[in-house]
Point group: C2
Chain length 688, copies 2
């Protein structure tokens, strides 16, 4: 859904319902903020007690206003919310901002009330932000309802927490960054995060979109909106805690390590090109980077500074962030050496060895020569630069000139430039930021941000796949049925027979040929309970295995041909259904080191075989599949076919919460599901 939000962010008239003289009340802050925009629109303060508010006559009712209020801000008690909404719509409002708390966030009753309200609002062709929100801000239209501390700027911010928005604003000040728009999300009864993201795509002053979000509502619509924004050249940065964390936690403790709402958010980021961050500081650090005039097209970086210690520390930090520090060619070193003292290192990092103080223009000259060479994608200037301005007015003027010269060098060569300085507030660096060069105080922030941009250059969003039509089918109530479901999707499993007693098991083993594996049926956690025996070499061993399972009150056995894992590798393939983002497919390195490796890749399901192969090859451990240490290359395309088939199956079955193949054995000649597990959505019944 994408509606016209002009009345919300640029209303011709605004009414504050619940305006107040009491500085302790939000209605006072809203009224003060609204009045700051009085030159742009009519402002009406409404309070049922009438009288004067902030030295102006207050209206006792919306019905008394001389014109329809395009936007009404509702700061009223919860019990009067419906009445206030009705009055607003009756007065002709096209946008409502619900400050009121005590509705959807309190439980099912509140959510039912909200649903009814939203129906009324939509019927009237209006939109509602909130309720339980803190207001909105629009720098260009002078609309400031609740957020007087925001500076204008290029960030469009959507936040589900007022305090976090405040912290973001304070952190942004360090970098001279401000906000184009801010919307406090609240309960998202009507307007959801996705629709607000969409509204920012065509909002010219917004250059970067930032979100703090705890609940994504329609996660796929949100992801599509983010993808559209990214494709339109507006980076989206997401700070979140993971939708459905509590339910995911419960599922995790029940089924093991692979389930996580982190997974869903990661899949949404992969699909949309949205960037996930883990703290307010990271959000602002990245926002500054996203605003860089020139972005790196790769991860090759030269480190430049005056003072060896900084360059060396920067090298370690940059390498740890995954940046590459190629040694500069002899030819290039030969061209920069004449600018530097005799002993100055020119390999990378380049150290001016104290010459910067005498010849400040070295910074510009050397940086330009290196960027022009094409041997790197970015220059990272580190350490003292910015501090020369402290010496004198002359130095300040010269340093600013040199800084702008470096910015020009970056623009001319279309190579990125990032600066870390111990004097980040230096006038020369303020000028540099204004010229589109990110400036950080800490080397880890500078290197991290540059690495994030380099990562982005290497990726393209996978997109949000369409869901297949929901299919019916029996819900597997055990391991055997889970096997059959997986097999029905066209995924290969080892030949197996179901046996109800020892005699049938022996016959099955003879039919299959030894060695075999035996799995007890009817156990909730068959492996932990001792209900799995692998590599059974002969009839005697089979007898032992069956004897040891005899005490487990099993419902029979699956007798399977034993696959040799010697020249293969174990993957994990699984699908979970997130309440917000729908089906998610996951692949990972399996085996006994799986948990330790924590090497997984995820995507919104379903994926086709090509996408699945990309996913598998994106694993850190992908080299293992490609024939490391003298081993034969494994049949990754076959594994990808299995993953794709599993994802199609999962996407078509909303009644299944989780399907997992662990291990998926990849051999030089195929892929084989050695075990399967299904968890139904309704009752959590576990089919192992």
């Amino acid at each position: 859904m994408s509606r016209d939000l002009r009345a919300l962010f640029d209303p011709r008239s605004v009414a504050i319902l619940g305006a107040s003289n009491d500085p302790a009340k939000w209605g006072n802050r809203l009224a003060l903020g609204a009045l700051r925009g009085e030159n742009a629109r009519s402002v009406y303060l409404v309070n049922r007690n009438g009288g004067e508010i902030l030295d102006r006559p207050a209206y006792a009712s919306l019905a008394d206003l001389p014109e329809p209020p395009e936007l009404v801000v509702l700061s009223v008690p919860a019990e009067g919310f419906e009445e206030a909404v009705e009055a607003s719509l009756a007065a002709g409002a096209k946008a409502l901002v619900g400050i009121t708390t005590g509705l959807g966030e309190t439980g099912a009753d509140g959510r039912a009330r909200e649903a009814a309200i939203v129906e009324r609002v939509r019927d009237a062709g209006a939109v509602l932000l909130g309720p339980n929100c803190l207001g909105i801000f629009d720098a260009a239209t002078g609309l400031d309802l609740g957020w007087s501390e925001l500076q204008g700027g290029a960030l469009g911010l959507i936040s589900q927490s007022g305090n976090l928005a405040l912290e973001l604003a304070l952190l942004a000040e360090d970098y001279g960054l401000g906000f184009s728009r801010f919307a406090s999300l609240g309960n998202q009864a009507d307007l959801e995060a996705g629709e607000l993201v969409t509204s920012l795509i065509d909002h010219e002053p917004t250059r970067v979109i930032a979100l703090y979000c705890e609940d994504f509502r329609d996660g796929r619509a949100f992801t599509r909106a983010a993808q559209n924004a990214v494709e339109a050249g507006k980076p989206v940065i997401l700070l979140t805690v993971g939708a459905g964390e509590v339910s995911a936690q419960a599922a995790r403790s029940h089924t093991g390590a692979l389930v996580s709402s982190e997974t869903a958010v990661e899949a949404a980021c992969r699909a949309s090109g949205m960037e996930r961050v883990r703290s307010p500081r990271e959000l602002i650090d990245l926002a500054q980077a996203e605003l860089a005039r020139v972005r790196p097209r790769g991860r090759r970086v030269v480190i430049v500074g005056d003072g060896g210690g900084h360059g060396i520390i920067a090298s370690d930090v940059a390498a740890a962030e995954g940046l590459e520090l190629p040694p500069l060619s002899d030819e290039l070193q030969g061209r920069i050496a004449p600018h530097l003292p005799a002993a100055a290192p020119t390999r990378n990092p380049v150290d001016f060895a104290g010459a910067g103080e005498q010849f400040l223009t070295i910074f510009e000259d050397v940086t330009r020569i290196i960027l022009e060479s094409g041997e790197v994608d970015a220059a990272l200037v580190t350490g003292y630069f910015g501090g020369y301005s402290e010496f004198s007015d002359e130095f300040r003027a010269e340093e600013t000139e040199v800084a702008l010269g470096m910015a020009r060098a970056a623009a001319d060569t279309e190579r990125a430039l990032v600066v870390q300085s111990m004097y980040p507030r230096s006038p020369s660096l303020v000028a540099l930021r204004e010229a589109g060069v990110p400036v950080y105080r800490e080397i880890e922030a500078a290197a991290w941000a540059l690495a994030r941009l380099a990562n982005q250059a290497e990726r393209s969003p996978g997109g949000v796949p369409e869901l297949p039509a929901p299919a019916d089918g029996p819900i597997p109530d055990g391991y055997w049925e889970a096997r059959e479901l997986v097999a029905s999707a066209g995924i290969e499993l080892p030949p197996a027979f179901r046996a109800t007693n020892a005699g049938e098991a022996r016959s099955a083993a003879v039919e299959l040929g030894y060695p075999v594996a035996v799995k007890a049926l009817g156990l909730l956690h068959k492996s932990d309970a001792g209900g799995v025996a692998l590599g059974i070499a002969d009839e005697e061993a089979l007898g032992d295995a069956l004897a040891s399972m005899a005490t487990l009150s099993v419902e029979g056995y699956s007798v399977e041909r034993m696959a040799s894992v010697d020249d293969g590798a174990e993957l994990i393939a699984g699908c979970i259904r997130d309440p917000r983002f729908g089906p998610i497919v996951l692949v990972g390195i399996g085996g006994i080191y799986a948990e330790l490796l924590d090497d997984t890749a995820v995507a919104l399901a379903p994926v086709d075989a090509v996408q699945a192969e990309t996913l598998i090859r994106s694993l850190r451990g992908a080299a293992i599949l490609e024939g490391a240490r003298g081993r034969a290359a494994l049949d990754v395309p076959a594994a990808a076919e299995a993953v794709a088939a599993l994802s199609q199956l999962a996407a078509s079955r909303p009644d299944l919460a989780e399907i997992e193949i662990n291990p998926l054995l990849v051999t030089p000649s195929g892929a084989l599901a050695l075990d399967a597990r299904v968890l139904s959505g309704e009752n959590g019944a576990d089919a192992r």
Copy 2:
């Protein structure tokens, strides 16, 4: 070596040799700084041109001074350095600070000159700092030679880079931290980092010791000094370089340093309890934490704040740093609930749900109740606290009272308290810091620092082992000889025969029993070259294997009984010899995922079997050895015996640069070296 450094840091008289009127010269800065201490000592400015410097008569020669200068600072050209040192010693100097550049850092000739100078200095019973250093600072004695921008405080700083020291000082200001002493290390011709660390142990104003160091000189002496400091209650924080190849290379060219491997530095930290950091910012973040009045005794943390978003973000960040967030007991939640609004979450994180603004004392009351319960080791207060002071003078006074109340609660309960605030410079938080509570601006810094303290609580330094007497022995010149060397240390290997042709190999296989492994001898990289065949099941397979190796121009074969890895796990065990820290022992998880897991632990060699077992069990993947996923527990003590024996062997053979057993197979009943490799120190000849 630990000499009296009183004359260096608290001289009764100081002479500046090379004092200057030219503000662009360091001799000017040194003179200005020295004069600031004139109330504490005699200051003599010396310049061979005589005349006036800074409005004082300058002496043309040290011989002209009216008294012997206890400390002489030498800011003279390199060619006159020896002469200046002689003149200083002749004048009676007991301490020298060599500012002069162009000596040891330029190469072997310069180092030879330094060695001769040091001999003269030591013969005269004096000490020399530098040369190629930038000066010293001592807050208590008012000695300020070159470092006028340092604030007094509790950090003792030793640095091999002037600019990094400056950055540290600027970052420290944020936290109101200053410096008790500073020494610029320079070339460490005489005074080394270790001796300076030792001098800070008894220096009362110094509470935390911080180092930036590129070259550790006598690494074991340095490590012992750090260990002594840590044991004396003075934490040591180390910023160093060489994590990556690029930085190691750069450091070598920066100071001519012998850069130690990452492994060696890690081993030194483990031995001493010294804390490694990767950036100036981390150093200062950790220094603030080390100054905390109460340190956590474990990693259980409660997160407290007013505003849910902050608490949830903090939970994610704290968990990512390895802190534990136990749910508070029902009983405890029952006791804090009455202080909070009805819907406020009390499980952990605890969220005041907006009540803080009305009842600021909640912060103190709730924090105290939780800390008194003993259910957590620390409280992490996050978000808005500090911002209430912005409202009014009354709020400021109350918030400061509440802050100090929280500090008292921490002191009374001996539980740690750390605060993250978006208003870190608030007067209430300045007061809180002065009360010994670390306050950070970013949640990641707060959680990281708290986690570092928690890690420290769980560890005790391993100590610096004595080296065994150097032993002689042949240097292995091939795989077979490397096997024999390892076997001579008492480490078990699979039975094997050396065979010079196919016939001998067949006999050996029969003798050993199939399956066997065959390794070609005389190849530099036998595995990569195809000179290793494993799991040879019968004579036919043996013939094939030998045929495929026939083209490799080998010097015979090692035919070995094949060990089954099925119910075991592969470790890597190795020793390297660092030029500064000596022999280092390393254990790690092996196998095809070894590189990906990057799971290693290191220690200064030699280690005994008990220490080796601790080392092995400290691996992230140690659970694999203890019988994960239904496997039998492995014989870790046997693996530890092998590692200890290897470390003893390596420590006694300085002529061996590297010894490696990879894999060291650990089974339920023993440990077996399946392959061995030795690299000699002299020529790098590789014995595989």
